[in-house]
C-alpha cells in the first residue's frame, strides 16, 4: 500500500491556490483546475489521494484529486454540487482563491499492479478518484497488461468525462464499457448496473488487480461479483468515504471500525474492509 505524503510543513495550514479553469461535466458536476498562487509547482500526489479544499468563509471539503499525476503545475478536482459548501466551491470563477491542504491518504497501489491487467470499476462520481489511475497506466502503458474500465452512471446525462471515455477506448489494450441504470430512447449503450458489464470484460482473474470506487453499496456488489468471477480478495481495492475533517487521523471524524479513512485510507484492500462492510451503521 502506498503511504501518504504531505507537501507542507504544517499540514493543517492551507496553501493558496487560484482557479485556472472550471469545466461543467454534467448538470451538477464540475471539474476545477487549480494552480499555486505563488507560481511554484503544485503539490505532487499519488492516484487515489485527496485534498482538503478551503472555500474561504464557507468551509473545508475533502475532495479526491482527479487529474493527471504527470501534470506537475496543477491540481484537478471533480466536484458534485450537493450542498452549500460544494455549491460554493463549484461556483468559484477563474482567478478566485481556494485553500488547499494535502494531499492526504493512501493511493491506489499502481506500482503493485505493474505487469498485471488493471480493472477500473467506477460508479457515478467514483470515476473521478480513479481517473489518475487511468492516466498513470496510459502514461506508462508498457508497464501494465490490459486496462479495463467499467463505468456505471445513473443516466446518460450523468456520465463524466465523455470525450475521454471515447479516447481511452481507442488506446492500445484498453477496453471501456459504460452502462447506465436508466437509458432514454436515444441511448444505444448498455443499460443495467455496473456489475452486468463483467460478462463482457474478458477478465483474466489470476492476472488482474481491481480498483473500485463508487457508492459503498455499489462497491459491495462489485467486490462480491469480482470474487465470484475468481478475483482474490487481496487483489481488490476499494476507495472508502467518511466525513473527513483534519485529514491526518487526529480528529476521529472519519473513524471506520479500527481505521481512520483519511490516514489509513481512503484506499483499502477488500479483505480489510469486508468484515466492516457487512455491519450496519458503521
Amino acid at each position: 500500500m502506498n503511504m501518504a505524503t504531505t507537501a507542507t510543513a504544517d499540514p493543517m495550514l492551507p496553501q493558496s491556490y487560484s482557479v485556472r479553469q472550471v469545466l461543467k461535466e454534467t448538470a451538477d458536476t464540475f471539474t476545477l483546475t487549480l494552480e499555486p498562487s505563488n507560481g511554484a509547482g503544485a503539490n505532487r500526489f499519488q492516484p487515489g489521494q485527496f485534498s482538503m479544499l478551503w472555500v474561504f468563509g464557507v468551509g473545508e471539503l475533502p475532495i479526491s484529486i482527479s487529474g493527471d499525476p504527470a501534470e506537475r503545475d496543477r491540481l484537478v478536482y471533480t466536484v458534485r454540487s450537493v450542498g452549500q459548501a460544494t455549491h460554493a466551491l463549484v461556483s468559484r470563477e477563474v482567478g478566485d482563491g481556494v485553500g488547499v491542504r494535502g494531499p492526504f491518504g493512501t493511493g491506489w497501489p499502481v506500482e503493485q499492479a505493474q505487469g498485471r491487467d488493471v480493472l477500473v470499476i467506477a460508479g457515478g462520481i467514483g470515476l473521478a478518484p480513479l481517473r489518475p489511475v487511468i492516466y498513470e497506466v496510459l502514461n506508462h502503458r508498457e508497464k501494465y497488461g490490459r486496462l479495463v474500465i467499467l463505468y456505471g452512471a445513473r443516466s446518460p446525462r450523468d456520465l463524466l468525462y465523455r470525450k475521454e471515455l471515447t479516447a481511452w477506448a481507442r488506446q492500445h489494450e484498453t477496453q471501456v464499457l459504460v452502462t447506465v441504470d436508466y437509458g432514454g430512447l436515444s441511448w444505444r449503450g448498455h443499460v443495467g448496473v455496473v456489475t452486468t458489464l463483467f460478462k463482457y470484460a474478458r477478465l483474466q482473474p489470476a492476472r488482474s488487480v481491481a480498483f473500485a470506487c463508487g457508492p459503498e453499496i455499489m462497491m459491495r456488489f462489485v467486490a462480491r461479483d469480482l470474487e465470484t468471477h475468481g478475483l482474490a480478495q487481496e487483489n481488490i481495492y476499494l476507495s472508502m468515504e467518511r466525513n473527513m475533517k483534519c485529514g491526518l487521523g487526529f480528529c476521529g471524524h472519519c473513524q471506520y471500525g479500527p481505521h481512520f479513512i483519511c490516514k489509513d485510507g481512503p484506499i483499502f484492500r477488500y479483505d480489510q474492509m469486508r468484515p466492516l462492510l457487512d455491519k450496519y451503521e458503521l
Partner: protein, 153 residues
Amino acid sequence: METLERIIAEHPFFAGLESYYTSLLTGCASNIRFDQGSYIFRDGEEANAFYLLRSGKVAIEIFPPQGRPVSVATMGEGEVLGWSWLLPPYQWKYNAHSIEPVRAIALDGKCLRNKCEQNHDLGYEMLKRFAKIMEHRLEETRFQLLDVYAVGR
C-alpha cells in the same frame, strides 16, 4: 461450417450440457437475424420462443402509462433473451428491441415444452439454467432499484 448443434453446445447458456440434450434442443432451433431497430417481441404477444444471442444488442423496454418506452436492461453476445415461453400464460411482458443488428439462435418454445414434458430430465435441466438467469436478473434489478447514484445516497 458451424452446425446449429455446435453453436448451441458452445453458447455459454448451455455450457456443460450433455450432447444428447444438445441434439434434442437442435431439433427446435433455427438461425435468425434481426435488423437494427426491429422488435424481436412485444409486450402482450404470445411467447413461443427464446433466443441465444450471438452478436448485437437488444434493449428490454417497458411502456410506462402514457409515456414513451423506457429501456430497463440491455443484452448482448452470450446471453439469453426471454423466459416467458417457459411458464404460463406464455406471454411477453416487455418489448425486446434490437438496438444493433442481432444474430441469434431461436428456440421454439412449444417444441421445447413438448420435449421437456416428454423428458423430465431435460425439463429439469432447462429450469435449473433459467432459474439461475432469473436469480441474476432479480439481483441486478434490486441493485438497480436502489438508485445508488442519486443525490443523498
